[in-house]
């Protein structure tokens, strides 16, 4: 079991959700987050005065997947959410020790 965590553009969320559903992973946790990478925010304007927004809104998707599916999921998110511009985000993969479906008490791979 692996956890795939992707921080992506807000406007790419719908496309990425479609892709994940096609790959057989309709379930996910989505969090609205803020942050910046090397670009360090952007400039906005209010009543004639510019100001720097250091933290930009992004969405973070978390999916727990079977080992064998990890590569195609990462590839799927990458293909769907990439624009090639600064601010596309990042994908991380972590090992997961165990999982449990609370409704049934199933554990391990069958809980996914």
């Amino acid at each position: 079991m692996k956890k795939i965590e992707a921080v992506i553009r807000v406007e790419k969320l719908d496309d990425v959700m479609d892709t994940l559903e096609k790959l057989g992973y309709p379930g996910m946790t989505v969090t609205r987050v803020e942050g910046h990478g090397r670009q360090k925010g952007l400039v906005e304007q209010f009543r004639g005065r510019e100001f720097k927004v250091e933290l930009l809104p992004k969405v973070k998707i978390e999916i727990i997947a079977h080992e064998k599916d990890v590569d195609k999921i990462v590839e799927g998110i990458y293909r769907t959410s990439r624009t090639g511009e600064i601010g596309d985000g990042k994908i991380f993969v972590y090992p997961v020790d165990n999982a449990m479906r609370i409704r049934t008490g199933e554990k391990g791979d069958s809980a996914l």
Binding site: Q45, F46, R47, G48
Partner: protein
């Protein structure tokens, strides 16, 4: 306490008795209608316009909250409501008598306390209601300039003093038959719907408050350079601007105080044109500087045009209204940068919109008035400015009035806020300011079910 109350009741009784003896009154309206069968159209016109002006309270509330942060939204709603509450009560008790009562040596009115006695008359109540919604507007302008850091009790006292003294006295000088209206220049100092009486007064009291309060935390960097503190909703600010723009169609045309003055059509057109020109000028000027279509400043520009055309709206042609609006739009942008560069923090631009453009509106009468209309009627004296061969006479009257207004409002505003500051301190604690005033002062967040960023 009881003795005082008894004394007060006696005074009221005597005043009302004296009033009853002195004048004929018509509380039912039947006699008024019999004497003037066409009165209903005027009554309906004035009341509908007054309702529109009342609705401007909502406009101010939305503009101010939109331009400020979510953590102070409850506080701004509280202030924008309570100022009309206080204005209603105090203006009924004393303000109206000081402003529109029988003149004493051109300085203040002396009759009509508590709308009692001879004031119990449909015509006087109509006049009262019209003047009240204007007094409320003058009071509410200030809340924008002092937003996000003024203590609520200070705002209560301030609202009372504006409705009791600052607004009614100056109003008497211009509209109540006082000394400014009788200046020996031009047609006397004239201010059709209140660029000076309402907006310059409100704006300069606001400036006094903003100066004595000092800037909000984070408005100026360590190097002293001004920073933007973005408001939480351009949507609300735009809605508020639309409400104000709409309300102004009551504010200016209703100031004929008669539906029989068909000049109302000219006034409505001029009002609209100045708003449009002001918005366009501000938008283009900021675009030239930053290459962005700045909506916040466009909204300020629109209001600036409206404020400026308020004094001249009945005396100028369409082209002049456009020019007045364009200049207002430029002035508001320059003024916003000017005050920021001097360390004055005016969160919503109230000083730039109302104080500066109120003065410009008064002066513009002396330049653009075309001599086709008089003082709320078509008879002499007609109001004629410099560009229409009226010479500098009217302009001088306007300058005297504007200067008086600035000195009066700024001076009393400084005294008022300074006295309150020495007495109990007008600024909230730094902790409260950083948290936002909503929870420490009112216990109620404005958006409890939303995630709001408090910076």
């Amino acid at each position: 306490m009881r003795k005082k109350l008894f004394g007060l009741l006696c005074v009221i009784f005597l005043i009302s008795l004296a009033g009853t003896l002195a004048f004929a009154q018509d509380p039912a309206g039947a006699k008024t209608l019999e004497a003037n069968p066409s009165a209903p159209v005027d009554y309906v016109w004035i009341l509908v316009c007054a309702f529109l002006v009342f609705f401007m309270q909502a406009g101010f509330a939305m503009v101010e909250t939109g331009f400020c942060r979510a953590k102070n939204a409850t506080n701004l709603m509280a202030k924008n409501t309570i100022d009309f509450v206080i204005a209603s009560l105090f203006f009924m008790a004393f303000g109206f008598a000081i402003m529109m009562g029988q003149d004493f040596k051109g300085l203040f009115g002396t009759t009509g306390w508590f709308l009692h006695g001879s004031e119990y008359d449909v015509g006087r109540y109509l006049m009262f209601f019209w003047q009240l919604v204007f007094a409320g507007t003058a009071a509410t302008i200030v809340s924008g300039a002092v937003a996000e850091r003024l203590k609520f009790p200070a705002y209560l006292i301030y609202s009372a003093v504006v409705s009791l003294i600052i607004y009614p006295l100056y109003g008497h000088w211009v509209w109540g038959g006082g000394w400014l209206s009788k200046l020996p220049f031009g047609a006397g100092h004239v201010d059709f719907a209140g660029s000076g009486v309402v907006h310059t007064v409100g704006g300069f009291v606001g400036l006094a408050g903003a100066v004595l309060l000092g800037p909000r935390f984070g408005k100026f960097g360590k190097d002293g350079r001004p920073k933007a503190i973005p408001g939480h909703s351009i949507t609300l600010a735009a809605l508020g601007t639309f409400i104000l723009w709409f309300g102004w169609f009551g504010f200016n045309p209703g100031s004929t105080f008669s539906a029989h003055q068909l000049r109302i059509a000219v006034i409505a057109v001029n009002t609209n044109l100045a708003a449009a020109a002001g918005a366009a000028a501000a938008l283009l000027l900021v675009f030239a500087k930053t290459k962005k279509w700045d909506v916040g400043m466009m909204l300020n520009g629109c209001l600036a045009g409206l404020v400026a055309v308020t004094a001249p709206c009945a005396w100028v042609e369409a082209w002049a209204a456009v020019v007045i609006g364009l200049i207002a739009g430029i002035l508001v942008v320059l003024s916003v940068y000017f005050w920021e560069a001097r360390g004055v923090d005016d969160p919503v631009g109230a000083v730039s919109v109302h104080a500066i453009n109120g003065v410009w509106g008064l002066i513009s009468v002396g330049l653009f008035a075309d001599g086709t209309y008089g003082l709320g009627n078509t008879g002499a004296p007609l109001v004629k400015g410099l560009f229409y061969g009226g010479g500098t006479s009217q302009l001088i009257a306007q300058l005297i009035g504007a200067g008086t207004c600035v000195l009066w409002a700024l001076g009393l505003g400084l005294v008022l806020f300074k006295v309150m500051d020495l007495w109990f301190g007008i600024r909230v604690s730094p902790e409260e300011e950083l948290k936002g005033l909503d929870i420490p002062e009112h216990g109620t967040p404005a958006y409890p079910n939303f995630y709001t960023m408090n910076g």
